[in-house]
Amino acid sequence: MLDLEFMRLAFGAGIVVGLLAPAVGFFLVQRRLSLIGDGIGHVAFAGVALGYLLDLPLVLTALVVSILGALSIEGLRARRRTAGDQALALVFYTGIAGGVVLVSAAGALNVNLFQFLFGSILTVTRGDLVVIAALGAGALALIALLYRPLVAVVVDEEGARVAGLPVAPLNALTAALAAVTIALSMRVVGILLIAALMVLPVIAAARIAWSMRSTVVIAMGIGLASVLAGITTAYYADLPPGGTTVLVAAAAVLAAEAVSVLRA
């Protein structure tokens, strides 16, 4: 399997996304913003459509539009003018509707949108892998460096504000990291499934972890294992890699729940 270059590239991209998605998702889950990944995913679709319209690299336009969408959700939520779920709904539906209109305007309704909606990891190029690895490593380094203040905000946002921590910039950074993760993961699991890879490993890890730090590490391990097992299974069983990866992550939640019940 690893003799094939497209499989080596697929595993390379999968390893980065498998580690990054749960690391970012951890902060979203703890802030009860598990579905923000779905919202940003829909905005990313508008970014892909914009790329078609302007004939620009699709990952680039998806990245820029996703970051703008993520910051909009965070801005609306932070100003408390709109409840978190309403802010999400506004950006969510605007994103998907904008995407459909832009794709139509670009005359690209007949292109294979399926690869962006559900992933197409076997089409990852060397150039894609360089971008995914560089941005993924940068995002993981940022999380490692700012882990303590990010956790402080997650645990007690108002307490952190009173203590003088830069809460708004840290929340904006989390939203931007979610957007970067989604743009990078489009090829691996697709826009419609990426939120699952950000959330399911964290849910599974929280069932069996003994601390916050161990939750992050275990979640990253489950994310990585899900992607590797998903791609391998998909290769041998001729299944779609994105969907298979998410099903493996869902199975990890069930297994972790079983372990948790047995331990209790």
Partner: protein, 230 residues
Amino acid sequence: MSLALRMERVTFGYGHGPPVLRGLELAVQRGEFVAIAGPNGGGKTTLVRLVVGLEQPTSGRIELLARKVGYLPQRAQAGIDAPLTVRELVTTGRASRTRLIGPLGAADRETVREAIERVGLVPQADRRLSTLSGGQQQRAFIAKALAAEPELLVLDEPTTGVDVEAQEAIALLLQRLRRELEMTILYVSHEFGAVERFVERIVLVRGEIVFDGPPESLPAVWHDPSHVHA
């Protein structure tokens, strides 16, 4: 004695609504242990949110002279789903006193350990918060506030949902902390019977300050603040 906090003619309303607090005049000396009491909806929480800067007054002036403030919001533990340990929780309280980037240094880890020790949770330090009793969880949150070495500690209903014994233990703990660390403490409670014996001053809030003085001077009719009448 110098001032920790001064409020002058403070009025506050949410959005364009009517004021929920009117004409507040309050001066708190450094080292005082003050209970903020009153009926539900009387504006106690709003008052302390103004003190810690989470809300801005519609008019009037608030001068916070204490350099560092520790704040324990109402039902703090309710928002915690994360499998964090007591030590991890207390460590987050130290974040404001360290550089943002990188791991905690040895001296800061020692401050965290001392904060855990002060609230008597050393044996539980590496246990998940969710496995502790309500009273122990509140003590962990108090340790989190202590980790920032605050001059003013503001606690909003810290004994909600804990039994009477734990309420008394928390009040005793705060009394000891105030003595040992020379802290100023503002303690919000809608049932101040539990803290009345430990504080030296009660401020009764019902849209405005209707009483401000030592507990022994509190008129009998106000001893149950849920029955405060105009």
